[in-house]
């Protein structure tokens, strides 16, 4: 088995907040040698057009994610339990913004 050595720097996930009160949303990832440089790179890559008022950087390795093989047991059960979905309620016409 051949292995390839990654000569790039550590990978970071970037979360960008677009306005006060809004959630930090995942914008993408990038390489950087440390957190301060990750912030600077994120500023250049993801907010150079003024998209952000705040940025979080997180080492990718610190994120634990579901895997594609988890899809069935994790997410399927909800589908056949229709009572979990609020679709049996009648919404009065005067209620707006739901």
């Amino acid at each position: 088995m051949s292995t390839t050595t990654d000569t790039q720097w550590q990978l970071w996930e970037i979360f960008v907040q677009s306005e006060t009160g809004a959630p930090h949303e995942h914008a993408g990832s990038l390489h950087a040698p440390d957190a301060e440089m990750a912030l600077q790179n994120a500023r250049d890559v993801y907010s150079r057009r003024g998209e952000a008022i705040s940025i979080w950087v997180v080492p990718t390795q610190c994120i634990t994610a579901t895997t594609p093989s988890d899809t069935q047991p994790f997410f399927d059960p909800a589908q056949d339990k229709i009572y979990r979905h609020p679709q049996f309620y009648h919404v009065p016409k005067s209620v707006k913004g739901l």
Binding site: L30, A32, Q40, V45
Partner: protein, 254 residues
């Protein structure tokens, strides 16, 4: 004896040419930087510099009132008519050299524009205030790299030390103020620049010490004369590349 208008024109050429030539040098990294993220960072800084030079040379052309524009000033002057310091025209070298050149310049313009943004000339003060914000970021970028390269691996330390040794010869010129700046200070158009060199020295030496870089060459030979149009051989080559399109197709629009 020159008029105030002529002195201001000359001063704006000095500021604008520094940014134009450094912006062009940095643009040469585009597509060649060591890593994608740094490629984008250097290109961003390059665009900031060119943007600043465009505003400064436009104002210079308006003050001169001879029908020139920022484009004619950038593309139709010869090397001896450029007033940038020789520091910014030096070839990129390796990444450490580019970062060291950038850092020495960033500290300089950070301190300079901090003062010039209080100019009594409203347009100049506006341009300087906008540039100061951009420069604050440039300095943060180059300073962080100075610390990481200097205090990094044996190889990165050696390269940065070599770069600082080589670049120190260009550092006196940053403060080669003459009758141009003196006239503008007397006319209260710009604040006094007398403290600039000392402030620069303190700021630069603090970071060099933190980056474990030594100043072996502090008393070395220092180049001079670029504010009067004297340059190293590198400027001519740079201008040939920068000006060829505009000179070959003078009516081209882009």
């Amino acid at each position: 004896m020159k008029t105030e208008q002529e002195y201001l024109f000359e001063f704006l050429l000095r500021l604008g040419d520094d940014q134009l030539i450094l912006g062009h040098r940095l643009s040469e990294w585009c597509g060649h930087a060591p890593i994608l993220e740094e490629d984008i960072a250097l290109a961003n800084i390059s665009l900031d510099c060119i943007g600043q030079s465009s505003a400064l040379l436009k104002l210079a052309a308006e003050i001169e009132e001879k029908g020139r524009t920022e484009d004619t000033l950038a593309y139709f002057r010869e090397a001896t008519q450029f007033k940038n310091i020789q520091l910014v025209e030096q070839p990129n070298g390796d990444f450490a050299f580019t970062i060291a050149r950038q850092f020495l310049f960033d500290v300089y313009v950070y301190l300079l524009y901090e003062k010039i943004q209080h100019s009594t000339h409203p347009t100049l003060s506006g341009i300087a205030a906008k540039a100061f914000k951009e420069i604050t970021y440039h300095l943060r970028h180059s300073k962080e790299w100075m610390l990481r390269l200097g205090d990094g691996t044996e190889e990165s330390h050696k390269r940065l030390q070599n770069a600082v040794d080589e670049l120190w010869t260009f550092t006196d010129e940053l403060f080669a103020f003459d009758e141009v700046e003196n006239a503008l200070v007397s006319a209260k158009i710009i604040p006094p620049l007398i403290s600039l060199q000392q402030e620069w020295n303190e700021m630069v030496k603090k970071v060099l010490a933190e980056a474990t870089i030594k100043l072996f060459n502090e008393q070395c030979y220092k180049v001079k004369g670029s504010r009067k149009g004297k340059h190293s051989e590198h400027l001519g080559h740079l201008l040939a590349e920068m000006q060829i399109l505009a000179r070959s197709f003078p009516t081209a629009k882009w």
